[in-house]
């Protein structure tokens, strides 16, 4: 394709190891104690990406849409574990996170596909879905962590409301709102400065692949909008479920432990 940048050869990739060596040298000279970790993450990233690249190749060539959705499901399950772990100590946090991410991703991807905003082909569904899932995962993790911290910190306030005959859901409502607001802040901030501070991922990829910038931004706009919807939905679902699991059938706030 005309204007397509040259993709680094394997030799080029190997040469870029110089950059890892620079980071390792800085760590060693400054006594940061991160040298080993830097090398390990560099190797790990290499292995992960090679594996993913190979697998994606197979999925694109032979798997079709069912495999693409299977891939997304896998991402949702992993994302649920990661986000749930951020809120360790909250009852059923991993299950809640998984359901919230699934809901946010499914609704957003559903709108994009049903309204034919994006193509229903694996080469589109997987990368776009991946962005949705990862944005949703981060927001869900932040939301649930905030819910957990509020449940611990605000126990006297919550119990004061419960003692006045409030349901658990009503007693926790003020903290739910705050949790979702916190979760949405990063998405709103990055939407505000999009294109000003850094060129966002989808746009960067398209430009590298030779697409005209004015076309590339159309994709990016859709991506930004979906990255507002998915975390909002996931945050709302996560707080609703987590808020429910925080209380038992007698409308008592369950014990919540924040690991130190």
């Amino acid at each position: 394709m005309n204007g397509t940048a040259q993709i680094p050869s394997w030799l080029g990739v190997a040469t870029s190891l110089v950059l890892v060596i620079i980071a390792a040298l800085v760590s060693w000279r400054e006594g940061l104690g991160l040298t080993r970790e830097l090398v390990v993450v560099a190797v790990r990233a290499f292995v992960q990406l090679v594996a993913v690249g190979a697998l994606l190749g197979v999925v694109f060539t032979y798997g079709g849409l069912p495999a693409a959705f299977g891939w997304l499901t896998g991402m949702v399950l992993i994302g649920g574990q990661v986000a749930g772990r951020r809120a360790k100590g909250l009852p059923a946090s991993r299950r809640t996170a998984t359901i919230a991410i699934a809901a946010g991703a499914a609704a957003t991807m559903g709108v994009l596909l049903v309204l034919r905003i994006i193509d229903s082909v694996p080469t589109v569904v997987i990368p776009v879905g991946g962005m949705v899932v990862s944005g949703t995962m981060v927001a869900t993790g932040i939301t649930l962590r905030r819910v957990r911290d509020e449940a611990q910190r605000s126990r006297p306030q919550v119990e004061a409301r419960l003692a006045l005959g409030a349901t658990g859901s009503a007693a926790f409502a003020p903290y739910k709102r705050e949790a979702v607001r916190t979760a949405l802040a990063p998405a709103i901030d990055s939407t505000k400065v999009v294109g000003l501070i850094a060129l966002p991922g989808a746009m960067t990829g398209l430009i590298l692949a030779g697409t005209d910038p004015l076309e590339a931004i159309r994709y990016q706009i859709v991506v930004m909008y979906m990255l507002l919807a998915a975390p909002a939905l996931a945050g709302a679902v996560a707080t609703r479920l987590a808020g429910r699991d925080l209380f038992d059938e007698a409308q008592r706030l369950r014990p919540v432990s924040v690991p130190t």
């Binding site: 006297p156 306030q157 119990e159 003692a163 006045l164 005959g165 409030a166 007698a250 409308q251 008592r252």
Partner: protein, 237 residues
């Protein structure tokens, strides 16, 4: 007596029957049997860690017993609608927690539709007569907050008030003011359960005392007959 309907009211607001409560492998309450009379103040006393607050939390179902039964008005508390139970059994915590920005909104937390006149009446009943409903709760003193929390609980028109060391976090003057309000409420017929390690002024309105030690009832009866109180007050009462 198995279960009394509200029509044939038992003389007791609460009855605890052989109650055991275990938390973290420890028996917080150990075979507690006690009666808490209606229309009077019951004091729950004993050293710290003896299970006083836990006993109080059983009465509005912030806890449920692992064994035994807690009865409210003759009925197993677990069979009652928990939200209604909590409207009928108010709780005043040790440290007042403010939930709204202004005094009027604070009184209305549990009863949002209260008319202004009723808010003023409740404030007066809680020992804050003439208090401006527009004042910000953040500006109040500890004693004022505790009386406001009392007005907030009274807004639901409860039959029983649970008081968990209501004055222990207050200075002497503020504590006296809160105690006076509690005394006037009990004298007006409210059932009160007071957890305290020092009864002070409330002794005069207390008709029944339960002494806990390591989760067990070691004494129970009218304050004048309870040795624990004698020893605490150097035998002066």
């Amino acid at each position: 007596m198995l279960r009394n309907g509200p029509s044939q009211r038992s003389p007791n607001a609460f009855e605890l029957d052989d109650v055991v409560l275990v938390r973290g492998g420890r028996r917080i309450l150990d075979r507690v049997t006690a009666q808490l009379p209606r229309g009077a103040a019951t004091a729950v006393v004993g050293p710290s860690g003896s299970g006083k607050t836990t006993l109080l939390r059983l009465l509005n179902r912030f806890e449920d017993p692992d064994e035994g039964v807690v009865r409210f008005d003759g009925a197993d508390a677990r069979d009652l609608d928990v939200l209604q139970l909590r409207c009928r059994v108010g709780l005043l915590a040790q440290r007042p927690v403010m939930l709204a920005a202004t005094v009027a909104d604070e009184v209305r937390v549990g009863a949002p539709d209260l008319a202004e006149a009723r808010v003023a009446q409740l404030l007066s009943r809680a020992g804050l007569p003439g208090f401006s409903p527009d004042r910000e709760t953040a500006d109040l003193s500890g004693g004022e907050m505790q009386r406001l929390a009392l007005a907030r609980a009274l807004a639901l028109d409860p039959d029983v008030l649970l008081l968990d060391e209501p004055t222990s976090a207050l200075d002497a003057d503020a504590a006296a003011a809160v105690d006076e309000v509690i005394i006037s409420l009990v004298e007006a017929g409210l059932t009160a359960v007071v957890v305290s390690h020092d009864l002070h002024r409330l002794l005069d309105v207390t008709t029944h005392t339960i002494v806990l030690e390591s989760g067990r009832v070691v004494e129970q009866g009218p304050p004048a007959e309870v040795r624990y109180l004698h020893s605490q007050r150097g035998g002066s009462r």
